[in-house]
Every structure is written in C-alpha cells, then in structure tokens.
Amino acid sequence: MIKIKNSSALLLSTALLAGTTLFNSSEVNAEFGDIVINNYSDKAGMRPVIFPHWFHRIRFRCKICHSDLGFEFKAGGNKINMLKIISGKYCGACHNGKIAWSVENCNLCHSAKAGTPTQVHKNTLQTLVRDKKQN
C-alpha cells in the first residue's frame, strides 16, 4: 500500500515539476523587433523562423529588404516559403551562400520553440496587453 502511495506521489511531483518548467519557459523576453514567422513551419514539422531585426539592421539598411527585395512591413505578410527562398527571392536574395550562409543551415533560421505564433516581439500593443507573467 505504501509503495503505491509513494509512486503516485512521485508521479504527482513529476507532473507539478513539469508544470513549473512549462510556466517558467512561457516567460518571453525576446529582443525588440524579433519577428517569429510561423505561416507554414508548425504544419510542416519544422521549428518556426525567428528573424532578428537587430542583427540585420547592423549590417543592412531597412531599404534593402523593404524596398529592393519587396518585404511588406507586416509579420507573416510575405508568404515566404522555401521554394521562393531557393529561387533567390526574399531571404534567398542574401541567404544563397554568397552574401550570407545558404539554405542548408535550416536550424539557424528555424530556431523557435514549436507553436510560437507569428508576431513582432515587444511591439507597443503586445507591451500594453501583456500580463505580468510575460514581464
């Protein structure tokens, strides 16, 4: 009888611990302007893409992507898929092994936790409506 009680307590503690870990990992403190793109990734079994604006703006001015390459000012609004990238459109204009590393490095872009929704991190609205857990 004691044995059964112990194992159920162990199970309970494991479940609670897992719950605590999940709770902690839900605290988001990503860089301002980090874009998560999850139009197709989750469905395809890939990690969603993280586009760090800060990294790119150190090296390229806004105009290159948002004027020359045709990126809309909207997270997830460009319907980017790997076919377009391999054809040299969108990310593929640089990520071709010439200007920047090429598409074989899947996990450098596809680096978000599964299920992370498409969004611009720390945008004004998100800051206003976020709850304390995300602070």
């Binding site: 004691i2 605590t20 301002f32 800060w54 001015r61 806004c62 105009k63 004004t124 206003l128």
Partner: protein, 196 residues
C-alpha cells in the same frame, strides 16, 4: 515512510522558491523595462534551447556592447550608432561602398495637446529608408494631407508601422515631440519625474 516525507519536502521546496523570489512591488518602472535586458538567446523565451544551431547565432549583448544606449526597445540608440559610424550597414545589397542620399528636410507638425510640436527629420529616416517605403502608401507627400494620432501609432498605423515595432516606441516621447518649447515642457513636467 522516510521517502514519503522526502518527497513532500521536495514538493514544498519546489513550489516555495517562486514565492521567496518576490519582486519589489514599489520598483519605479515607468517603461515596463524587464529585470533582464538583452538576455542570451537561449533564455529569451522564443528560441528553442534544444536547437543545436543556437550556438552559431550572435548574442545581442555582444553586438550591442559598443553601441549607444537607449531607454527602451533593444536599449540601443540606432540613430546615434549610425551617425557615430559604430555601425555601417550597407545601403545596397551588392555594393558596400554605395552611400545613401539623405534628404535634409524637417517637417514641423503642430500638435493639438500640451506636448511640444513634432519635428519630423527626413534626414535620419532617409539614411535608413527609401522614399517609397513611406510615400505614398503610408504618408501622402502633401502638407496637411496626413492626420496622425497617437492611437493610430499605438495600433501600428502611420509612424507606428516602424515606431514601436523596430524603431523606438511611444515611451520615448521627446524624441519626436522635440520642438523649441521642449525645454519649458521638461521644466514643468519632467523635473518632478527625475526627482523620484
């Protein structure tokens, strides 16, 4: 029985620790600045720490170390970083020597409330952007043709397409509301704040 007590103790400890680490409820934090700014990627809550590729990616803190500071966003003053040539981002994809054609034209926008007027500097914007990024889709290039409100900006329209998403947000009021009466405004409204 001993194991049972141990497990119960373990459980209590596990759930007490967040209670012990309670934050100061009276912390002055007008800008909602998080306790930790520019955290490492594996702790930012969106990167998957189980992804092996994460070690290849640059850490924000190392990139920002030498750049001018700001009070919000990435905690980097990107305009100053560019002016001081601490960063020299390309203006053309293939030609690293190409220089932007800056348009040095300030637009003064009178505001209805008690805030200083907005001075919009084309110069700082054209160093980053192309005219076609804003005109005519976001702003009609004609005096008086664009009604702008803070509500729209907060909702991500007009200036808010960039400001509050990738460019400094609405908490840095005086970077836009920067007309001459700024000094009076600072004296009357901000002196109190700095004393806190």
């Amino acid at each position: 029985m001993n194991t049972k007590i141990n497990i119960i103790l373990f459980l209590i400890l596990c759930h007490l620790s967040p209670v012990i680490a309670i934050e100061n409820p009276n912390r002055f934090n007008r800008l909602f600045t998080p306790e930790v700014t520019n955290p490492p990627l594996e702790e930012d809550g969106i990167h998957d720490p189980a992804n092996g590729g994460i070690v290849t990616l640059q850490q924000p803190e190392s990139a920002f170390k030498k750049l001018d500071k700001a009070t919000s966003g990435n905690h980097v003053n990107w305009v100053k970083a560019l002016e001081s040539e601490k960063i020299s981002p390309r203006f053309d994809l293939n030609d690293p020597t190409m220089k932007p054609m800056a348009l040095d034209l300030n637009i003064v926008r009178e505001v209805k409330g008690s805030m200083p007027n907005v001075i919009y500097p084309h110069k700082q914007h054209t160093l980053w952007l192309d005219c076609s990024n804003c005109h005519p889709a976001i702003f009609i290039p004609q005096k008086g043709a664009n009604q702008i409100s803070m509500a729209e900006i907060i909702m991500g329209q007009k200036c808010g397409v960039c400001h509050g998403r990738v460019a400094f947000g609405v908490t840095e009021c005086l970077r836009c509301h920067s007309d001459k009466n700024k000094e009076d405004f600072e004296k009357t409204n901000l002196a109190q704040e700095s004393n806190e």
